[in-house]
């Protein structure tokens, strides 16, 4: 049989035109799948969400029996408050720093515990490394306060190593507090990324690595060109969740530094709490909350748009 200029078979790209496979049953099917989740979220959260927006338009909510409608006055006040902007700046530093920390440590450790080692050892290391996640925030905060105390273990070790002469006040020095908080937040948050990424890793077909190895790819090359692209959906989802989560992370910051010293580690979530439950200014707290909502929503729209492009 002549085989000369036969085109080499390539997978038909026709499906590229198809937006997505649809299970072509009754048109309502996807809604049925979403229904239970949306009903629960809608029933329980739409009223509270609405109330928060409403609070932000009144003065003295909760404290006063008849709060007065003040329109956007609270927003004007909040936006004119330098404390809000500095908390916003701290939030960005804290969120971006934490997420980067989570990602680097989490992904790095996921790769390490995914190595081909004895299954028992793997179980051991995986379980040990998830430990920072399973203690409640109060305990985490208090424990780190112990470790970072001027007379705590860290200073003791650093002193013993001759790295410092005076104990450092890790949580009380305005120049160090945010860094310390980032370390704590990274420690606390990496297991989520590690576990998620580890799960994602298992779905990468081995053939892809083999193919890359034949092409002479080294570890980094495989990571960049096989692992990461393959896990994009997982990474994007997890990163978004981590970002939103960290953006309003409250208990850890509040219990570790209380936003201090001064307001050096005050983030929007602690500011919100301070306004609500220290100052009893619930309307202003709601205003800050809505501003957080707007920022996060804008970010999420961008994310979803990007996701749509990827599909």
């Amino acid at each position: 049989m002549p085989t000369a200029p036969v085109p080499t078979p390539t997978p038909d790209k026709e499906d590229a035109v198809t937006p997505s496979f649809r299970l072509p049953t009754a048109a309502g099917t996807p809604y049925l799948f979403l229904l239970p989740g949306l009903v629960i979220l809608g029933a329980l959260l739409s009223v509270p969400l609405y109330k928060v927006v409403e609070y932000s338009l009144y003065d003295n909510v909760i404290v006063e029996r008849n709060p007065t409608f003040v329109g956007l006055d609270n927003y004007r006040d909040i936006l004119g408050d330098p404390g809000y902007w500095s908390a916003g700046f701290n939030t960005i530093v804290f969120t971006v720093g934490s997420v980067i920390g989570h990602m680097i440590v989490g992904i790095g450790l996921a790769l390490l515990v995914n190595a081909d080692i004895h299954p028992r050892a793997r179980t051991f290391f995986r379980s040990m490394l998830v430990l920072p996640w399973i203690f409640t925030a109060v305990v985490v905060a208090l424990n780190w306060q112990l470790l970072l105390n001027p007379f705590g273990l860290l200073n003791y070790v650093l002193d013993w190593l001759g790295l410092i002469t005076e104990p450092l006040d890790w949580l009380g020095n305005p120049d160090l507090a945010m860094w310390s908080l980032l370390v704590i937040s990274t420690w606390r948050g990496y297991p989520f990324i590690m576990v998620s990424f580890l799960s994602g890793l298992q779905t990468v077909p081995k053939e892809l690595y083999e193919a890359a190895e034949i092409d002479g790819a080294g570890f980094w090359h495989k990571f960049w060109h096989v692992t990461l692209p393959q896990l994009k959906p997982v990474i994007f989802g997890v990163a978004l969740l981590d970002l939103i989560w960290t953006f309003q992370l409250f208990p850890l910051v509040w219990l570790t530094t209380g936003g201090g010293p001064g307001r050096a580690t005050e983030v929007l979530s602690t500011l919100t709490f301070r306004l609500a439950f220290v100052d009893f200014e619930f309307a202003r707290a709601a205003t800050v909350a809505v501003s957080i909502l707007i920022i996060s929503a804008a970010f999420t729209v961008l994310y979803l748009r990007n996701e749509a492009r990827r599909l």
Binding site: G37, L44, K206, P233, F250
Partner: protein
């Protein structure tokens, strides 16, 4: 290749492999020690009388192990109630989140439909308002539903926190599974639900596990709502129990850490058991990519 070279090559490769293994173990041991150290310190604090925790120089192990914290926590039935409540709530939230969340994730992953992005935005938006500002109005809803001071109230509450995460995470995992499986199963006679349950879920097992772990720990660690939405000692959870030890006039360090350690042990064991399902190759051989 000469005859002599072949065995040497094999030996080299074997040696290289062993070195690699040794390096991996060493690296793992080192990072694990660093990461786990703060937890070791917690255990240390739990085994010391509080005065020793604050004496200098700091020591990891006291001369005499102090079991007072553990004794107190293990003998007081209150703490058993806290633990039991936390596990019940955690498991219920995990189960419900997985079922409801996976269904929704399947909808998002496998269909394009009118309003899909709006629905997704809503799901995510619910998590964007700092929960502390939602506390008071949400509290009202729970009271309205008659779930105040019940474990169901907590389950439902944590469900609202965990569902969006479960949906987004499962959506991500399902997206990594080729749609070819759906088509094959549809032709084979599966309903869409059948596609999800019979074909996709076995492949998505690692994703399910990590979503389950996330969900469980979210419920396990939550404090603010647990405190506000319950008031009987019978309905309280571990974080609330722990915070009770932070008193106006001092802190029971040994008891607090002992309770944390005891409470976390079953969680750790649970994780050890389920992490075995986080293995590779579940989707291998299914499709030629």
């Amino acid at each position: 290749m000469t005859d002599a070279a072949a065995p040497r090559h094999v030996v080299d490769e074997e040696r290289q492999r062993r070195w690699r293994q040794a390096a991996i173990y060493a690296a793992l041991a080192l990072v694990t020690f660093v990461m786990v150290f703060p937890v070791l310190w917690m255990i240390s604090v739990s085994l010391k009388p509080t005065t020793e925790t604050f004496s200098l120089p700091p020591r990891l192990l006291p001369d005499d192990l102090h079991w007072g914290g553990y004794a107190k926590v293990l003998t007081d039935p209150k703490f058993r109630t806290f633990l039991l409540n936390s596990y019940l709530v955690g498991l219920a939230v995990t189960g419900l989140s997985l079922v409801i969340g996976t269904l929704a994730a399947f909808g998002f992953s496998r269909y394009r439909f009118f309003g899909d992005r709006v629905a997704k935005l809503f799901v995510i938006t619910t998590q964007m308002v700092p929960t502390i500002t939602l506390l008071i109005p949400y509290f009202g809803v729970i009271v309205f539903l008659g779930l105040y001071d019940t474990l169901w109230g907590l389950v439902l509450t944590y469900l609202t926190f965990s569902l969006p995460y479960a949906i987004i995470m499962m959506n991500g995992y399902l997206d990594t599974i080729p749609k070819d499986f759906d088509e094959a199963a549809t032709i084979d006679g599966c309903t869409p639900l059948g596609v999800l349950v019979r074909v996709l879920l076995p492949v998505a097992l690692p994703g399910i596990i990590s979503t389950a772990v996330y969900t469980f720990l979210l419920a396990w660690n939550e404090f603010l709502f647990a405190l506000a939405l319950t008031r009987s000692m019978d309905m309280r959870t571990v974080p609330v129990g722990i915070s009770m030890m932070v008193g106006e006039f001092g802190l029971k360090w040994d008891e607090m850490m002992a309770f944390s350690v005891i409470g976390s042990l079953p969680v750790l064991i649970l994780f050890m058991l389920v992490q075995r399902f986080v293995v590779s190759g579940l989707a291998a051989g299914g499709v030629k990519g």
